[in-house]
């Protein structure tokens, strides 16, 4: 434990600038290689080889793609509304990249000028910043679709805006139990809460994945919807809308939409890591746990190699979540649009609200029993969550969500869906029958 040496203003600004440039550069390089990873993983899933001609293992493919996109012709549709048409790709790329500013990616690094926290901006509103910036990400999709002056694009933009509004509610609510546990909205504090310390305020000594198993599931689903990835990629459903909102875009402007989407995926994966997988915490080892309290006290011993190791741990975890994203994309079929809306409004919203209530009651009970914050606290919540996960899987398995949109009275496949309507989420069925036709 020791006092943190305060950075002087000059070094604070210099180091902040270095961090901004470094994080942005790394993010862009990772995005470039994620395009390759996606194609290679999809090829692996479909028993193909994927791009492997440019460089060893196709490692130079992103560079080739970049050059190709830059030298291709930029088209401007006659019906397009010029300023908005040009602005849309920028708005698609911007929120996804600046979201990364509040993600802690390593343990604090000691430098001759003071302790440097491995986060671009430790803003006091923490995850509210994520929600605020995340919520403006839809403008790129909506504006691109509208300004293209094409009906396919307009439909894609419409779908995008409706979908984002719907799932943002579930995304925000799924983080409420996390805030209940962590008691703070700042991302570094949320990471600290998942670690073990010998001194200082009590923490949970467990990744929030376990005490908030169901919550992390909801967050992941909403994250998939927010990034417009399959099975939620209705805004660019190529079988119906060509490619939806970016149909009219070509060359680098099209590429910017893609970069925005991939950057968003990486950011959401990093958020899953920070919120539920312990952030940069290395499991089964307490030596890496370093916590900076609000009064400047440092618990643990920061060294440069710990920063490197924790950065590696963070990268591995985020990478695995990204692979999960890709895996899901190439495994699951796309939702129908009414199913997507039903899942968002008639299942996720209710389920998350009930989940918040249950977790709040359990926390009240645990604190009433006098169990202190720590491993046992987390374990009790884990057991409760296992039970809830069982209930959830049982409910989902009845086919009420995926087939909930099937109209038992009129639809051709009325049988099992209407039989299952007596379960806990049966309201989905009965409500869906008198739904407005699109």
């Amino acid at each position: 434990m020791g006092e943190m040496q305060e950075l002087t203003t000059f070094w604070f600004v210099t180091i902040a600038a270095v961090k901004v440039v470094a994080v942005f550069t790394v993010l862009m390089v990772v995005v470039a290689y994620m395009t390759l990873a996606e194609r290679r993983v999809s090829a692996f899933i479909q028993d193909r080889l994927g791009p492997n001609r440019v460089g060893p293992f196709g490692l130079l493919q992103p560079i080739a793609d970049g050059i190709k996109n830059i030298i291709k012709e930029e088209t401007m549709p006659a019906q397009a509304i010029r300023p908005f048409f040009l602005l849309a790709p920028v708005l698609a790329i911007l929120p996804a990249t600046i979201l990364f500013a509040v993600i802690p990616f390593g343990s604090p690094l000691p430098t001759p000028w003071g302790l440097v926290e491995m986060i671009v901006a430790d803003v006091s509103i923490g995850f509210l910043y994520i929600l605020a910036i995340g919520s403006i990400g839809v403008y790129g999709v909506a504006m691109g679709g509208w300004a293209s002056g094409s009906k396919y694009s307009l439909l894609g933009g419409l779908r995008g805006s409706a979908q984002m509004i719907s799932y943002e509610v579930a995304l925000a609510l799924s983080l409420v139990p996390l805030i209940l546990l962590a008691g703070d909205v700042r991302a570094p504090e949320i990471v600290s809460m998942q670690q073990t310390f010998s001194a200082g305020p009590p923490t949970y000594a467990s990744w929030f994945l376990f005490p908030l198993l169901v919550g992390s599931f909801f967050f992941f689903i909403s994250g998939l919807a927010e990034t417009n990835r399959l099975p939620f990629d209705l805004p660019e459903a190529e079988a119906e809308l060509i490619t939806g909102y970016h149909t009219e875009y070509s060359a680098m402007k099209f590429s910017m939409f893609m970069i925005g989407e991939f950057a968003h995926v990486i950011t959401v994966a990093a958020l899953v890591t920070v919120f539920f997988l312990g952030g940069w915490d290395i499991p089964f080892w307490t030596g890496d746990n370093i916590r900076v309290l609000s009064d400047g006290t440092v618990i643990g011993e920061p060294t440069w190699w710990k920063t490197v190791l924790t950065l590696a741990a963070f990268s591995v975890k985020t990478g695995l979540v990204v692979v999960l994203f890709v895996w899901i994309r190439w495994t699951l079929p796309r939702f129908r649009y009414d199913q997507l809306m039903d899942l968002g409004w008639k299942f996720m919203l209710e389920a998350v609200t009930v989940y918040i209530l249950v977790i709040a009651l359990v926390i009240l009970a645990i604190e009433g029993l006098g169990i202190p914050r720590g491993g046992w606290y987390a374990f009790v919540l884990f057991v409760v969550n296992l039970g809830l996960a069982g209930v959830l899987l049982f409910a989902l398995d009845k086919g009420t969500v995926i087939r909930g949109a099937a109209r038992p009275a009129t639809g051709p496949d009325a049988g099992p869906a209407s039989a299952a309507s007596s379960t806990s989420v049966g309201a989905v069925d009965s409500a869906a029958t008198d739904d407005v036709e699109e």
């Binding site: 509304i81 908005f84 803003v123 006091s124 509103i125 509210l128 910043y129 929600l131 605020a132 910036i133 995340g134 919520s135 403006i136 839809v138 403008y139 909506a142 504006m143 679709g145 509208w146 307009l154 933009g157 419409l158 805006s161 409706a162 984002m164 509004i165 943002e168 925000a172 703070d184 909205v185 700042r186 609000s294 407005v436």
Partner: protein
């Protein structure tokens, strides 16, 4: 620096607001209204009101404006090019209202310039409370303590209005 930032945000907000009401295209209006929200959020940040800045962006910038955009696009109003102000009489009426509001605004501000808000005792108290409870705690504690009843009643009111809206929508469908 403080003054410069304030004037930048204020000028952006006023300029975007003027552009917003003069656009004939509703989608442009929505976009410039979003710019206004960003500028006001910037000013909230300068007042150390981080929570309100974030909520302003989440609710107005991110949710309500997206909903507006959605409705405009759904009804395909994006290409309407006639003005709401028809004829010279309409223009004069609109201009008179605008000048009237401007007069009220100027009258309330002239000779009434407040000190730098965060340097006042109330600002200092807020900053101390924020350091102790976190910026969310400063808002959350009164909201879920002192004003809990009001919050609940507001919630019931909003629920009633939602139910009412659904009822109206269903009835009109016949």
């Amino acid at each position: 620096m403080y003054d410069f930032l304030f004037q930048t945000f204020a000028a952006t907000a006023i300029l975007a607001a003027i552009i917003m009401v003069t656009r004939k295209n509703p989608v442009s209006s929505v976009i410039f209204l979003v710019v206004v929200f960003f500028a006001t959020s910037g000013m909230f940040l300068m007042l150390d009101a981080h929570y309100i800045a974030a909520i302003n962006l989440i609710l107005y910038g991110g949710a309500i404006m997206v909903l507006f955009l959605f409705v405009i696009m759904l009804l395909n109003l994006g290409h309407a090019d006639w003005s709401d102000l028809r004829g010279p009489l309409g223009g004069m009426f609109g201009g008179a209202i605008a000048i009237g509001f401007l007069g009220v605004l100027v009258r309330s501000l002239v000779g009434n310039t407040p000190a730098t808000p965060s340097a006042t005792p109330a600002g200092e108290a807020l900053r101390a409370a924020a350091a102790e409870q976190g910026v969310i705690g400063v808002v959350a504690r009164p909201l879920f303590g002192e004003y809990f009843m009001v919050l609940q009643v507001t919630g019931v009111l909003l629920l009633a209005s939602i139910v009412g809206t659904i009822l109206l929508a269903r009835r009109s469908r016949g």
